[in-house]
């Protein structure tokens, strides 16, 4: 079950990411990013993080991606054009990304025996549920950072309003 979940939703995430890279129209890229985020939510659930799976669906694929799609519609963004910067970007971009991928996967695969393996419910079987564990730490030990994020969100809202309002 774990391996089947991982293969199906991992392949879906990779397909979505590649589609984001290959599509020319921003709205297609945005919708394939939604696919990536939904399949990552399933992977979070399989890793024993139910709260984060729900938050991923609500915050990322719900709020943030709707915001992206809204801005794309508002600006009426069309297909991107090939420009003189494209050639340099291709020359630097593809080998750079491939080098990062090769380095990271070499390190991970050479350490795979030290990293152990994962099965569904491995983390969930003991103690209480994941959410109560998370909230206990969040509201006791990390109360100050948690409250500071509310100030951060407030500042971000004010900044967005100031930046996007109409000039008088």
């Amino acid at each position: 079950m774990q391996l089947a979940l991982f293969i199906i939703f991992g392949a879906l995430a990779v397909a979505g990411a590649l589609n984001l890279l290959l599509q020319r129209h921003p709205i297609n890229s945005a919708l394939s990013l939604v696919v990536v985020m939904m399949s990552l939510a399933v992977l979070y659930w399989s890793l024993g993080a139910e709260f984060l799976a729900a938050a991923q669906v609500i915050v990322y694929s719900g709020a943030i991606m709707v915001f992206f799609v809204f801005v794309i519609m508002l600006l009426n963004a069309g297909e991107e054009e090939r420009t003189h910067g494209s050639r340099a970007a291709y020359l630097a971009g593809i080998p750079g990304a491939a080098a990062i991928f090769c380095l990271l996967s070499f390190v991970f695969l050479s350490e795979r025996h030290n990293l152990g393996s994962i099965n569904v419910g491995g983390h969930l079987s003991h103690l209480t549920s994941n959410i109560s564990e998370l909230s206990t730490v969040l509201f006791t030990k990390l109360l100050l950072p948690f409250e500071v994020t509310s100030v951060l969100i407030l500042v971000a809202i004010l900044g967005a309003v100031v930046l996007a309002r109409k000039e008088q």
Partner: protein, 106 residues
Amino acid sequence: MTPLSAEVPTAYYLVLAAILFSTGVGAFLIKRNVITVFMSIELMLNAVNLTFVAFAHMWHQIGGQIFVFFVMVVAAAEAAVGLAIILTVFKNRSTLQIDEIDSMKL
């Protein structure tokens, strides 16, 4: 135990995150549209979140999941401000091509 109920090595999750991250890096460098470039930053953030959750599961510690929670909060704030900046840039220059937004170039 059927083959499909086998355990998955943690390294596979990390390799999946590496694939997503390097796809994000490639899209960030190749794409010529400001909104798509911004979306590839979100893709990279998601890939890093996956490694955090995988390591949190591996060490049976909640710290990694809390870190992901904070990354999500900061990403939401960042998306709000970033898209407001994109709106302002479009209003002033009426273009979304990053090659044409180069007034800070030397």
